[in-house]
């Protein structure tokens, strides 16, 4: 297998040497008719209702840049500049909800617009047209590939970034009272998150010297036997460190699912909601909350 840098997009189709000689001529043609072709392309984009999230001016300025880099790729054979531009563009348009089909669509439209102008120019000489297309097609396909791959990679990068962000945010360890911690779990608890959660829980017990931990799973959409098993492990590990765990926020559906699938949560201390959990924790540690008459405060 040939080695390549992760940024590079493999070349699917190679042009023959003798056809490549035609590329300079092609480039000149595309440069000469830049204004006209670019406008045709922008019109096609609008008519196809692609990039509806962008304004007309934005589409036009994007069209200009892509057109120029497109011709440049044909001229130099190097996709780096186009790749960088595509990445940059993707970064700007992804947050606005531009979809993959739109990006692929506009590049294919440009390919069609340019191909048509070549047909027009060389229609008299079919032999030559064939050779021009032989030179043009591999380069055009490579460009389409590059732009699409750059877009998808950028999207994947953003998704990864967001996953990391969610992971970091997901389980805060909060101290509500001396030696009482609250850990709300939000979202799906998969293997990786469960391990991370338990690590944070144990580290939190250590650093806050916690005796009671309230784990609230109101934000966990689905609890299956695997998740329940993770919770049981977290509770057992906490106990080894001398802290007891109160589990709160089991919805009626989850409670019924657990009973149906026969998960043993019997040794767990469960309370209906977070408030009840905190009250139970306070009771375990001997805190007593008393309500005073607010009017009394005004007397002093």
């Amino acid at each position: 297998m040939e080695t390549r840098t992760p940024d590079e997009v493999p070349v699917v189709q190679e042009a023959r040497e003798e056809d490549l000689e035609l590329l300079p001529e092609l480039v000149t043609h595309l440069r000469d008719r830049r204004t006209e072709l670019r406008e045709q392309w922008a019109n096609r984009i609008t008519n196809a209702h692609l990039l509806s999230a962008m304004t007309e001016e934005e589409i036009f300025s994007m069209a200009t840049s892509v057109y120029d880099s497109y011709v440049e790729v044909l001229e130099t054979g190097s996709v780096e500049a186009l790749q960088a531009y595509a990445r940059d563009l993707s970064e700007r348009i992804i947050p606005r909800g531009v979809e993959t089909y739109e990006v692929v669509g506009i590049v294919l439209l440009l390919r069609d617009v340019l191909a048509r102008s070549l047909f027009e120019k060389y229609q008299k000489d079919f032999e030559l047209l064939n050779r021009v297309l032989d030179a043009y097609e591999p380069a055009a396909n490579r460009i389409a590939n590059t732009v699409a791959v750059s877009f998808v990679r950028e999207r994947e990068r953003i998704i990864r970034q967001q996953q990391d962000a969610i992971r970091e945010l997901s389980t805060p360890v909060l101290q509500v009272r001396e030696r009482i911690l609250i850990l709300p779990i939000i979202g799906i608890l998969d293997e990786q998150r469960a391990n991370q959660f338990t690590e944070q829980l144990l580290a939190g017990i250590r650093s806050h010297r916690a005796k009671v931990v309230v784990i609230d799973i109101t934000g966990v959409p689905d609890v299956d036997s695997e998740v329940a098993n993770h919770l049981v492990q977290a509770v057992d590990a906490s106990r080894l460190m001398g802290a007891s765990v109160i589990l709160t926020g089991l919805s009626p559906e989850i409670a019924q699912t657990l009973v149906t699938i026969g998960v043993e949560l019997g040794k767990m201390n469960t309370v209906g909601d977070l408030q009840g959990g905190v009250e139970e924790a306070e009771r375990l540690l001997g805190f007593r909350v008393t309500k005073t008459d607010p009017a009394d405060n005004h007397l002093h």
């Binding site: 338990t198 690590e199 144990l202 580290a203 017990i205 250590r206 010297r209 005796k211 492990q233 977290a234 057992d236 590990a237 906490s238 106990r239 080894l240 460190m241 001398g242 802290a243």
Partner: protein
């Protein structure tokens, strides 16, 4: 020295300073159960804070030790289990059921104090007024 057993009032505090092999841990178990009798200890604290691994033999021996100590009249608390050790033990299914655990030495002492206060104090001599 791998293990030190100190006497503090009616408690024994055993600190394990480094990982013990199987023979050493059995020796430790014998020494401690022996000393519970000679010192008339009512509580035992085993501090494992220095350990960063615990194998199944080790945890089973601790469990046996606690049960043996109870038969000799002393309650056992295991303190100082590290977070990573706790996680590993649970994942390998080595719980320490029926043995009390506490965060550290201070917590362990507090627990024993509470526990033994609830029991009738057997040092009070009957008939003394």
């Amino acid at each position: 020295m791998l293990v030190s057993i100190l006497r503090q009032g009616s408690y024994l505090i055993a600190s394990i300073h480094e990982a013990l092999n199987d023979r050493e841990i059995v020796q430790f178990q014998q020494d401690l159960v022996e000393q519970i009798g000679t010192d008339r200890a009512r509580g035992v604290i085993i501090d494992v804070a220095a350990l960063d691994v615990m194998d199944s033999f080790g945890s089973r021996t601790l469990l046996n030790l606690a049960h043996a100590a109870r038969l000799r009249g002393a309650e056992t608390v295991i303190v100082g289990i590290q977070p990573t050790v706790a996680f590993a033990m649970v994942r390998l299914g080595m719980g320490l059921d029926n043995v009390h655990t506490a965060l550290d030495l201070e917590e362990g002492l507090a627990y024993l104090q509470r526990l033994l206060q609830q029991q009738p104090d057997h040092q009070t001599r009957h008939g003394a007024s």
